[in-house]
């Protein structure tokens, strides 16, 4: 992604929700599109770093209630501190399976979740800790699940990649790319039929935009005017491969919006306020029966793709630039600029720290799931019998 491409679209959607976000012309920039010269395909290691846009201070002026902002601050703290804890526990060899952290990307989940109602639905990918917690799932059971404990939110049966909290209408995390975008249409369709005006949000990565299910889901949502909000967290990389090496367009989600009769919306995914405003607009549109939205949030993960991946395929300069754009300190500064006391923010941080410690305690105290859980929960009757 070139800085140009980001500058093109983003910010506008956030700065004025009444105006239609700009429709980014689907085009191939010299740098955004891979393969413009087949002999230069995959010019590994010689590509310039993909740098973020400068911070948009004007977003201070977005019309957002302070309560909402404090709530988003707190949520980002929860996500950050919980993810750091998950990482620590991983280093202590307590997280047995894989795990995909959203460190650096917290503003997206926090901003979107704040625009949702408790009865709205959410779907996430394997990188779903943040999205699950942002919907209110209890922290202890989430952490316990990562540790594979019986008191985990999935009884230890799903693990990090499959977090769900149906009680909170968080309908699951899906580890095979694409499918959940189609499933999200189903809860949206159900709400449409039941006339509940619930909306459904489905998060996914930049890499997911190139899989077939993405296309099917977007077309069905648009055709049926479903209240589905598709949120692409474009962190510039798939696992290890930069998304622009394998996509025909520079903005892999936004540049495809037109293919479904939708507007192209790009937001700064490192600014919870900008995310919130765009999400709120999409939510209102969906509640009003005016159909789906597709939002592309530009962001960056601080760490590797999963577990111990050191993310060495990313140029230092790029990582450094994005660390400077860490959504949380920036949001902290915004709140200070808006007159919030440092001490208020510190006490939120400390509150959260206490909750994270408590959650850790809870998780560590859980037993490993015993054999009675092995054969349960395949069927609605609780069992797994396939014969008499």
């Amino acid at each position: 992604m070139s800085t140009d491409a980001v500058a093109d679209g983003h910010g506008a959607a956030g700065s004025d929700t009444s105006a239609a976000p700009p429709i980014a012309a689907p085009m191939r920039t010299a740098m955004g599109a891979a393969g413009t010269d087949p002999s230069q395909l995959y010019d590994y290691g010689r590509r310039p770093p993909r740098l973020p846009d400068p911070v948009n201070v004007a977003n201070d002026d977005l019309d957002i209630a302070l309560d909402d902002r404090l709530a988003m601050y707190k949520m980002q703290q929860i996500l950050r501190q919980m993810e750091r804890r998950a990482y620590d526990l991983f280093l202590q060899n307590l997280v047995k399976g894989t795990s995909h952290l959203s460190l650096g990307m917290e503003a997206v989940s926090a901003g979107v979740a704040r625009a949702q109602r408790p009865d709205d639905y959410t779907f996430a990918t394997y990188r779903g800790h943040a999205h699950t917690m942002a919907r209110g799932a209890p922290l202890g059971p989430v952490l316990a699940e990562l540790l594979g404990r019986e008191n985990g939110i999935l009884k230890g049966k799903g693990g990090s990649m499959h977090l769900a909290s149906v009680e909170h209408n968080m309908m699951g995390s899906y580890a095979i790319i694409g499918a959940h975008l189609c499933i999200a249409n189903g809860t949206a369709w159900s709400a449409q039929m039941r006339g509940t005006d619930q909306v459904t949000v489905a998060f996914f990565g930049d890499g997911a935009t190139n899989i077939g299910a993405f296309h099917e889901a977007l077309n069905m949502a648009a055709t049926w005017k479903l209240p589905t909000i598709f949120v692409c967290e474009n962190n510039l990389y798939m696992e290890y491969t930069p998304i622009d090496l394998v996509s025909a367009v520079p903005n892999p989600a936004a540049d495809r919006a037109g293919a479904y009769g939708l507007q192209s919306i790009i937001v700064d995914g490192n600014d919870a306020d900008e995310v919130y405003v765009a999400a709120a607009a999409a939510v209102s549109k969906a509640r009003a029966g005016e159909g789906p939205s597709l939002i592309e949030a530009k962001t960056y993960r601080h760490g590797g793709h999963s577990r111990a991946d050191p993310g060495k395929y990313r140029p230092d300069e790029e990582v450094e630039a994005w660390l400077q754009r860490d959504p949380i300190p920036l949001y902290h500064q915004r709140l200070l600029r808006l007159g919030v006391d440092e001490s208020t923010l510190l006490s939120i941080q400390q509150d959260v720290a206490a909750r994270v410690d408590e959650a850790t305690e809870f998780a560590r105290s859980g037993a490993e799931p015993g054999p009675q859980h092995l054969m349960s929960d395949v069927w609605a009757d609780g069992g797994s019998a396939w014969r008499n």
Partner: protein, 358 residues
């Protein structure tokens, strides 16, 4: 609203022990009036019965509404239930099963049609990895009261990509129930039980059976998953079959009796998951020989599973090796002469069994 089932009750799917009993008799024994219906018509009637009962139930699929289905198995449903409940979709099988899965997660029952079972391959992730595993992966949180209907099997000279029998593609996936009726009355009763089942059920309608007629009692019909039917009693060997193969097994049994003096018991399995192993094991206990007649290509067909169960649990009852009669392990050819050779025929069943028993 007389709810009929082979056992008279709707028990837990795996509780069924009953063997064949005509669904055309009410629990009290008074005969119920019957009409003749085709298997094709039975599909629409079964769906309509359930849509009338449960106003939440919806269905989606390609060409199912305006056109009444490309196999005319959903004729009349759009007129009765309207375009919100009977929905035509784009050619997007992943979106279809995804939408069904999502609707079902909210507790709303749903039927999705995948036009040909061969097309399960374009949406297999939804079926095998999402729908089947959701409940388990979430420690019981997610529900999936959905039915995936499809048209299965050979006989139409459609060639390798529209003629497959893929019950085993589903049977091998933990978390899916698998049903394949062989008669109009079973279509209705099993459709009802599939719709009412809180778990994902894959419902195979056999293309070559669509024109088959049968007597169907009036009123609502509700059957039970996981209950096989002994459709012909016999003493010398047991033949298990499914869907189109049931009639062939029955005809073969008649010929075995007439020409070879072999008395074959024929079991219509009706569902592969749950599997009524007791009925099969009980029969083999009496007959001491097992033959399976399956339309799946050879390798890893359901017959293999059946054989492995029967030898494991009934080994000392057996007087000879269980023998599988299957489509060979080849794609289905399109020419009539070849397709007829590929799929187990009455001749082949008779020959195989008479040779094995001879």
């Amino acid at each position: 609203m007389a709810e009929l089932s082979p056992t008279g009750t709707i028990g837990a799917a795996t509780a069924g022990l009953a063997t064949a009993e005509s669904a055309a008799a009410s629990p009290g024994g008074t005969p119920v009036e019957s009409t003749e219906l085709s298997y094709r018509e039975a599909v629409a009637r079964g769906i309509a019965q359930e849509m009338r009962r449960d106003p939440r139930l919806v269905m989606l699929g390609e060409d199912i509404a305006g056109a009444g289905g490309v196999f005319k198995t959903t004729v009349g449903l759009l007129d009765e239930f309207g375009p919100q409940r009977i929905r035509d979709t784009p050619i997007s099988e992943q979106a279809i099963l995804g939408a069904a899965a999502g609707v079902a997660m909210t507790g709303v029952p749903v039927i999705a049609e995948i036009m040909f079972s061969d097309f399960f391959a374009v949406c297999f992730d939804l079926l095998a990895n999402e729908i089947a595993k959701g409940r388990y992966m979430t420690g019981g949180q997610l529900q999936a009261p959905l039915v995936v209907r499809t048209h299965n099997g050979a006989g139409s000279r459609f060639g390798a990509q529209h003629s497959q029998s893929v019950e085993n593609w589903c049977m091998m996936i933990p978390g899916l129930k698998v049903v394949a009726p062989s008669t109009p009355v079973d279509v209705i009763g099993l459709m009802a039980s599939a719709v009412r089942d809180p778990d994902p059920v894959v419902f195979f309608e056999h293309k070559t059976l669509l024109a088959k007629k049968g007597l169907v009692p009036q009123g609502d019909i509700v059957d039970q998953l996981g209950v096989a039917k002994i459709v012909r009693e016999g003493t010398d060997c047991t033949i298990t079959a499914l869907a189109l193969m049931v009639d062939r097994a029955l005809q073969a049994a008649d010929r075995l009796q007439a020409d070879h003096g072999i008395s074959a018991e024929v079991i219509d399995l009706r569902s592969l998951v749950p599997l009524d192993t007791r009925t099969v094991l009980g029969s083999v206990e009496r007959t001491s020989r097992l033959f399976t007649v399956e339309e799946n290509p050879r390798l890893c067909g359901w017959g293999a599973e059946m054989v492995s169960i029967v030898v494991d649990e009934g080994f000392w009852n057996l007087d000879g090796a269980p023998v599988r009669i299957t489509t060979p392990h080849i794609p289905i050819p399109s020419a009539a002469s070849l397709e007829d050779l590929a799929v187990p025929s009455v001749d082949r069943i008779v020959e195989t069994i008479s040779r094995a028993m001879g």
